[in-house]
């Protein structure tokens, strides 16, 4: 279990407990947090669960697998802090992880 902090583009904060093994994307969708669309359902086939992770946490996350950066090329305003939240698996180590949502996903 980890506490994940989702911050919408307008600054609104959502703090939820997410079970280990779920992804950061699923944590948002299951808790009705707006700002993450996840159109493809987590198969790394779209780029609508895009989030920004600031450096302090970015470096602690498991590295991107092949294909994630390719998908991020197709996201809305990606930058070097970008991740697909469907590819971040929650574990105790991620307690306190903060992700920022882009202005929009599509």
């Amino acid at each position: 279990m980890a506490k994940i902090i989702y911050i919408e583009h307008n600054g609104k904060e959502h703090i939820v407990e997410v079970q280990n093994g779920l992804t950061v994307m699923e944590g948002a969708v299951q808790n009705d947090i707006p700002g993450i669309d996840a159109d493809c359902g987590g198969s790394m086939s779209c780029a609508t669960c895009h989030v920004y992770v600031k450096e302090d946490w970015y470096d602690k996350l498991p590295k991107k697998e092949m294909g994630e950066d390719d998908m991020l090329d197709q996201a809305y305003e990606p930058n070097s802090n970008s991740r697909l939240s469907c590819q971040i698996s929650v574990s105790d180590d991620l307690d306190g992880l903060t992700v920022h949502m882009p202005e929009k996903q599509v």
Partner: protein, 337 residues
């Protein structure tokens, strides 16, 4: 004007199998899809990815599944209207009138929405100023490459479309290729070619840059690009092309009064009809208690929706349930003995 029993919106697996079921029970249908090919997400998003949960098919790719579904409905000779999108839905007497972006008009008692998460459309530049040049000098696809002859063209993107067009247009135009990172996701041969052309100064390559602004009065003159550290450059550009893949947009369906709840349409589970008589929704786009977004659920929903269509298409006939193994009528429809 085309008169038919059912218009299916969306040519993904769910729409295709629903068409099969309509054919089996003797109804006609027309299938509309915004993509230029049949198959929906299976063909656009994951043609090569294996699927493991199609009943009785241990493993198949999105492309194989699509090809088999196309094969399965071949006997019915249904029409596909690709590269077209349903735009408008109005009712007239007992019929629905469906109009498409390309100006087609269908009259039908039934519409089956099998639209998945929406229609695929190119992702556009986030830059507000790009909107006023949209379709004239800011483009997301190329119909006629001759317009770029002797012009300055700025191409954004890192996949095959961006690379292939950069290579092709560099023969007759001054091409700049701009991508947000150093790695490209295109074919290795294309990436090598881009690097060679860049070395020879035939293509101006800018990596770790993205679009900031487009400028021009009336016609486009320049594009401003920025690096993540905030450094910006201004490039001469008569045309700006963006190749960022496709996104899914629900589009006009959202305006049809179907009580949408977070981009999905509530239906009953008896025949998957919506709150409007003769409008059905199946597959990923529909919702009901216990809904699973699986292809197999879409097949089930399509089979029941097809029966739901029957009563409006053939109000004077009684629907008779038959098995494909036993019914001569069905075998005739399939053209088998």
């Amino acid at each position: 004007m085309i008169k038919t029993d059912v218009v299916i919106v969306g040519a993904g697996p769910t729409g295709l199998f629903c068409a099969h079921q309509l054919g089996i029970i003797g109804l006609k249908c027309e299938i509309v899809d915004n993509l230029d090919k049949i198959g929906g997400q299976c063909i656009e998003l994951y043609p090569d990815k294996p699927i493991y949960d199609i009943p009785a098919v241990p493993e198949c790719t999105g492309e194989e599944l699509t090809n088999n579904l196309i094969e399965q409905i071949k006997p019915f000779k249904f029409n596909f209207h690709l590269n077209d999108r349903v735009q408008e839905l109005t009712s007239k007497n007992e019929d629905w009138i469906v109009k498409t972006t390309n100006g087609k008009e269908f009259h039908t008692p039934n519409v089956v929405i099998a639209g998945g998460v929406g229609s695929f459309e190119p992702r556009k530049f986030p830059t507000k100023s790009a909107e006023k040049f949209d379709g004239t000098s800011v483009l997301y696809s190329i119909k006629d490459k001759t317009i770029f002859k002797d012009k300055s063209v700025a191409i954004f993107g890192g996949g095959d479309s961006a690379l292939d067009w950069a290579i092709e247009l560099s023969k007759n135009s001054k091409v700049s290729l701009i991508h947000r990172r150093d790695e490209f996701r295109g074919a290795p041969a294309s990436i090598q070619k881009i690097k060679d052309l860049s070395k020879k100064n035939i293509i101006n390559l800018f990596t770790k840059y993205s679009i900031k602004d487009v400028m021009g009065n009336g016609s486009l003159k320049e594009v401003e690009i920025k690096s993540e550290s905030g450094e910006s450059k201004i490039l001469k550009a008569d045309y700006v092309l963006g190749f960022f893949g496709l996104i899914m947009q629900l589009g006009p369906i959202a305006e049809w009064g179907l009580n949408l709840d977070k981009k999905v349409i509530p239906v009953n589970t008896e025949n998957f009809e919506t709150n409007k008589k003769g409008i059905f929704a199946i597959g990923d786009i529909c919702t009901y208690p216990g809904k699973l977004k699986l292809i197999l659920s879409g097949f089930h929903e399509g089979a029941l929706a097809a029966r739901g269509c029957f009563k409006y298409a053939r109000p004077d006939e009684k629907y008779r349930f038959e098995f494909t193994t036993a019914s001569n009528t069905i075998k005739d429809r399939l053209g088998v003995k």
